[in-house]
Amino acid sequence: MRPEFYKTLLSPFWLILLVLAVVLPPLLPSYYLHIIILTLVYVALASAWNIVGGMAGQISLAHSLFIGVGAMFSTALLLKLGINMWLGLVISAVISGVLGAIIAWIDFRFRLGHLSFVLITLAFAEMGAVVVEGWDFLGGASGLLLPRDTGNFLQFQFGGGIGAFWAMLVLAVAAILINVAILNAPLGYYLRTIRDNENAARAIGVNVLRYKIAAMVISAMLSSVIGTAYVRYLTFADPYLLISPVIVIEIVLFATVGGLGSAFGPALGAILLVPLGEILRGKLGGVLPGLHYFIYGVVVIAVILITPSGLLPLLEKWWARLRGTAPARK
């Protein structure tokens, strides 16, 4: 770890946020608390995806599989076999990790190009959705309903609202910290080398297979854990939400808008877009269903056309110009 890592960790900005996190939630109406929790879920998911999509530069659309396994499988284990959800969380995360490793191995073994990787992972995502909808153990097309959240921590219950907020906050912060750690660790440099030129990376002796698998497994297990926590908050395991390719496409778009490859970019995208979408849906959803997705789409197109590397680099540039210094190169 380099000293910057600890410096980023201890800046006063985070302490202020922490104080806000303690003070604010009990004061907020439950509707706004819900929006904050959703935002944290997507901050965590976008950051988890960023390890593969941003740092290693592989646009994976298969992450709905990992989220879906984490959500649907742990729920099914609890309801059908009575397995404690903490254990279910671990089992699902291991399965997701294995799936991720297989996908990374396929990518390496068959030397898929960028386009082929997008297409193959999209096919896997669609297959996952078809399997879940046709498999009664996982609830089929009608989904599964979890028992009411009574706040029993040993049963992976957080007591709704504020408890869920803390659980999600921990996950989101963990996901971002993992991003920061990987970016500053050798793994992060290897991944960026592979992203920028895989052949060159191989030529200078980077073990491409090992680091691709490492990135995918970390990202997959993290996504799976977030999926389990998300479904506990929703209490309804809805296959059309949790294992549809749409959820990945949303995550990819958040990450792109914020800025791929940096530690905070994907989080920034989710922080800006999720509340925007939810508030629009709340205000206008009854009149014009679909409007919030429509606006997501417009924002994404606009951001890609104006600043293809995302909003975060743009903000950093402005900030640097404000202070009269050159921006730091990542």
Binding site: A123, V252, P289, G297, V300
Partner: protein, 287 residues
């Protein structure tokens, strides 16, 4: 045996239209290297325009092509010129994400205008059947088959023997050399994209009779189109039509002989295997 022939016939007829959908995408990929992830949503757009024209003017889908084709072609040209063209120099993945954003805009724009209920557009020929021995086929499928192949042949002739077709092939083979020969590459790419979207307007009308439509269907059509294009080897004209037939037939057989889930998995399974073991597509290219 009857069941077999029935599935084969239906698969062939639907598959021809899948081939037509994919030709548009293959042409665009060949000329500008863009894979359009909003392809399926443009098909949706074509279908819902037909529905709109039916509700407003009681036009039969086959007749409303007169209006939808020019409109969709114009939309295609505008989208390419203002949205995709500025991105062509950038990384390929940004274009993918741009078209994913476009897909959200189209899908939810349709949802905002037409609502989320599944809708049907009636046509004169919708319920007519054609009986050939043991095999019963629906007339709209036959029309789709004939028109798809006629259009495919028309496109082929256009590529072979018109100036525009020759400039498309030149840009496909080597954009820099084509530019040196005085071909306006951006213009060719824009026109090809517009042509690809215009073809979708026809394909949409062909698929429409008897099919319930809803705004969220776009991604499924995108995936089917991608399957076909990859099967056909991305830019191989004959390969793509063949790929369409294979996907159509495997879908028809899958739903008849296997359980629902397995049947729906079959095309994806084929796709993944081909992607891994024959990434250049099924046909042997002459190059």
């Amino acid at each position: 045996m009857t069941e077999f022939m029935q599935a084969l016939a239906q698969g062939l007829l639907i598959g021809s239209t899948y081939g037509l959908l994919a030709l548009g995408m293959g042409l665009v990929y060949g000329v500008s290297g863009v894979v359009n992830f909003s392809h399926g949503d443009f098909i949706s757009l074509g279908m819902f325009m037909c529905l709109g024209l039916y509700s407003a003017l009681t036009l039969d889908p086959y007749v409303s092509i007169i209006i939808t084709v020019p409109v969709m072609t114009a939309i295609g040209a505008v989208v390419y010129w203002y949205l995709i063209r500025p991105m062509v120099g950038h990384k390929f993945l940004m274009v993918v994400q741009l078209t994913l954003g476009l897909s959200l805009v189209l899908q939810n724009g349709i949802l905002m205008v037409f609502g989320g209920q599944p809708a049907r557009t009636p046509s004169m020929v919708e319920s007519k059947l054609l009986i050939l021995g043991d095999v019963v086929v629906r007339v709209p499928h036959v029309i789709a088959f004939v028109v798809s192949f006629a259009l495919a042949i028309g496109l082929y002739v256009m590529l072979r023997s018109t100036d525009f077709g020759r400039s498309i092939r030149a840009v496909h083979q080597n954009a820099n050399a084509a530019a040196l020969m005085g071909i306006d590459v951006s213009r060719v790419q824009t026109l090809t994209f517009a042509l690809g979207i215009g073809i979708l307007a026809i394909a949409a009308a062909l698929l429409l009779p008897g099919t319930p439509i809803q705004p969220a269907q776009g991604l499924r059509y995108t995936v089917i189109t991608l399957l076909v294009v990859v099967l056909g080897g991305m830019t191989n004209f004959v390969g793509i039509m063949l790929g369409g037939l294979i996907i159509g037939i495997s879908e028809a057989f899958g739903t008849i002989y296997l359980s629902d889930t397995l049947g729906m998995l079959l095309p994806y399974g084929i796709f993944v295997l081909i992607m891994l073991f024959r990434p250049q597509g099924l046909t042997w290219s002459s190059r």
